[in-house]
Amino acid sequence: MKKIILMAGLLSILLVLSACSSKPKLRILNWGEYINDEVVENFEKEYGIDVVISVADSNELFYSKIKSKTTAFDLVIPSDYMIEKMVQEDMLLHLDYSKLPNYSSVTYMDGVEQIFASMTETTLLATDDEIDFKTYAVPYFWGTFGIIYNNRVDGLEEALYTNGWDVYFEANNYFPTARRGMYDVPQFAFAAAMMYMDKNPNDYSLANLDLVRSVLETADFTEWGDDTLKRNVESNNLDLAFTYTGDYLDRLYIQLSEEKTLEEVREEFDLYIPDTTMVFIDAMVIPNTATNLDGAHQFINYLLKPENAALNAEVVGYAVATEEAFDIIMSYLESEDLEKKNWAVANSIYYNMEVERTYYPLTSLNPTDTDAIGTMVQNVITG
């Protein structure tokens, strides 16, 4: 018993000692399960910096944690619309590209460039300021939205690839019996309907609100869900659902780990990415509360290196931002390691950069408009 107490005492002393090591600290605010610990360990060894990661589960929390200044974070990884908001409220520092030498040897993927352009455009419309968001942010991961479909339904796949959004929204014309599911986030529903009408999903107006309402009513959704959507298509309880590409990959990897082959899974349920679709990007920014500016730049520079970005992507399942990192993942197509090979195949199908698409990141609407969309969607649901 005494020995145990002694051991416990020693352990706790060790813990305390290691916690107050004299290494400089880098405080990162990140999403949960959104970084490969291996990358962090390698970085710590190489630069002698102690990385402390805090986790938040919404962009709004990121915002309030920086705004309240209780902890001085050196690096934060919020999404597109939140970065727009933070820049507008002067909460971010400009990046010092002289400290990011790896930047010159990478090329952002086409989708990423489109997202940056779109962010500049929406901010210009809303505030008359022309902002180059690259001066504030280096992309971390990005991802598209798509339609998960039930491939057990004959002809559904073909119809989607010929008619795109129409199949999902025009319940009268295509597959009237198909069970359709929509994310119960009002702005997602609004944006999807806008893209179906070939409009910019960020173009909010009362006239568009009315149009969207009638589109959503025609679609006659069987379900308004969240994580339930992907599971229901997988279990043959839903036929079409608009979700994150990552949602599909999540289920795909789980099925693959249960000894199914990629072809078998795709015969049951697959993902279709429309030619015009929503995207999101999470990017590394330095808030003006940062104290370890050098460390933050070193970390960003470290993750710009394609090998590190690819390693980080192994556990996350979203798309890497640079072509060089993507090429590394593609090199696993011939890999002996089945897990790595499947991962590469999935990336080559669902994050294929050869296909030209129009990508729209969602902007943050003002509270009144968000509310009007929310009420409209509730009115559609209640009929």
Binding site: E60, D184, P186, F221, T222, E223, W224, G225, T228, N232, S235, N236, N237, P367, T370, D371, G374, T375, Q378, N379, I381, T382, G383
Partner: protein
């Protein structure tokens, strides 16, 4: 009251005022003003502009859904639960505690987990179907029936326990006397036992009615997001940080709850059946 007890009661009184009364006052203030994260206290103004939300068709339908489902759930729980409670009371089984434990057994697992599983076996293709070969529930997932089933399944134990407590308190001598004076067992039940157990029924009804009225998780999961309760709208308003609207609807719900409590005190002055 004894002085020592007064001191001991103080921590909870502080708790109650800080975490219940102050928030309620804040909620009322937020519901009738323009206060939000971008308006500072200095610019605070009384404003009734959010009240037009109450006339929105989705709000009205959500209120109707909440009231209808809460009432139906209470009625069904009463009809089905009363007789279970009565059976337990009549049972010759020595250890009634075990019977009551069985009644609350479902509560040992997490509410959300239970509801998700229920939603799963109510859907068209599920694990039970692949084992049994047929669909136990039919394909009721997403319908009102599914929601009602889930609500009754979740809240009926509260009714059973309250009614059982009331039934146990009835002096057996009264029942003997009724039989002695020539009442048939059925008449004895209606003339003696049932009226004496009414307090338990009222308490049970309140304990079923209130959580059903304000709840949102069960209807959301079992209706697959298609049947909107007022709780669903309140949740949405707070998630999308429209605190004024959320607070307004919460205050309206508060009035329903206060009404129910008044009803309770009318029937049950000593509060003795309240668990």
């Amino acid at each position: 009251m004894n002085k020592e007890f007064k001191v001991l009661a103080r921590p909870y009184m502080v708790w109650l005022s800080v975490l219940v009364f102050v928030p309620i006052l804040a909620m009322i203030l937020i519901s009738i003003s323009n206060l939000n994260s971008s308006v500072s206290v200095g610019e605070l103004m009384i404003s009734f502009s959010h009240f037009k939300l109450l006339l929105e068709s989705s709000t009205l339908i959500a209120f109707r859904n909440s009231l209808v489902f809460a009432t139906l759930t209470t009625l069904l729980s009463f009809v089905l639960g009363y007789f279970i409670a009565y059976e337990i009371k009549l049972s010759k089984f020595k250890n009634k505690f075990i019977l009551l434990t069985i009644v609350i057994l479902p509560m040992w697992s997490n509410l959300i987990l239970r509801t998700e599983s229920l939603a799963n076996i109510m859907s068209e293709n599920n694990i039970l179907k692949s084992i049994l070969g047929f669909n136990l529930f039919g394909n009721i997932s997403g319908t009102g029936v599914a929601v009602l089933f889930g609500l009754v399944f979740t809240y009926m134990p509260f009714m059973i326990l309250s009614v059982y407590t009331a039934l146990e308190k009835i002096d057996f001598a009264l029942e003997e006397a009724a039989l002695d004076l020539g009442l048939s067992p059925i008449k004895k039940f209606w003339k003696v036992v049932f009226p004496l157990s009414l307090k338990g029924v009222v308490t049970g009804s309140i304990m079923v009615f209130l959580p059903t009225l304000a709840g949102f998780a069960i209807p959301k999961i079992l209706s697959r997001g298609r049947i909107v309760f007022i709780g669903t709208i309140i949740e949405n308003k707070f998630v999308y940080t429209n605190y004024n609207h959320g607070a307004l609807l919460a205050v309206v719900i508060l009035f329903f709850i206060l009404g129910s409590i008044l009803l309770l005190t009318k029937f049950d002055k000593e509060g003795e059946t309240l668990l």
